[in-house]
């Protein structure tokens, strides 16, 4: 089974602060994703990547940068955090894109921006 880990698990920062969320997957999956989850919106895709050095824009990219440094590691960067970015962030990975490939999720990072 795919292993996806995230760090930190919880983070509190202030408005205007810089935050980096980390994700690592150990099953050699090609695709990695960053989602945010908010009440009333479900999970929404921020960015995704199909390999080291690649970045694709998701549905809610504003205010976020991301970087895929290796096949295993995908980072989400908030350079000027705002309270609207308080959310539960999930990283996921998949072998391929779309059917029949399943996405495997990390445990989530709860971010609070004061």
């Amino acid at each position: 089974e795919a292993a996806v880990t995230q760090s930190p698990r919880n983070k509190v920062t202030v408005t205007g602060g810089n935050v980096t969320l980390s994700c690592r997957q150990t099953n050699s999956h090609n695709y990695m994703y960053w989602y945010r989850q908010d009440t009333g919106h479900g999970l929404r895709l921020i960015h995704y990547s199909y390999g080291a050095g690649n970045l694709q824009i998701g549905d809610v990219p504003d205010g976020y940068k991301a970087t895929r440094t290796t096949q295993e590691d995908f980072f989400l960067l908030l350079e000027l955090a705002s309270p609207s970015q308080t959310s539960l962030y999930f990283c996921a990975s998949s072998e391929g894109l779309g059917g029949p490939y399943e996405q495997y999720f990390g445990p989530g990072t709860r971010l609070t921006v004061l």
Partner: protein, 109 residues
């Protein structure tokens, strides 16, 4: 409009009762996954069922692709089944996954 709609929004059962969760989607999908999210927030894939019927343990999913709907049946519910069940599809073209807002299940002893 919302591409994935789940019903009911919430469901309360007595332990041992069965649950039927629905997922309707408005666009063609080549992949459909059901997820369980624990009260603590962790997300676990339950099964992948883009078409037909699939069983795993006490779970049965039936997806009718042409009618753009899927169901998740939980038999003999247990208190540990409490949590939120999410349905997700990939859009036609497959480069994005869209999630429903979930069904919150509470199973009381």
């Amino acid at each position: 409009g919302q591409q994935v709609q789940q019903s009911p929004a919430s469901l309360v059962l007595q332990e041992g009762e069965n649950a039927e969760l629905q997922c309707n989607f408005s666009s063609t999908a080549t992949q459909l996954q059901w997820f369980y999210q624990s009260p603590g927030g962790s997300l676990v894939s339950l099964l992948s069922n883009p078409s037909g019927t699939k069983h795993t343990g006490r779970l049965t999913s039936t997806t009718v692709t042409k009618e753009r709907r899927s169901s998740l049946h939980i038999s003999s519910s247990q208190t540990t089944d409490s949590g939120t069940y999410l349905c997700a599809i990939d859009r036609a073209g497959g480069y994005k996954v869209v999630f429903g807002s979930g069904t919150r299940l509470l199973v009381s002893p």
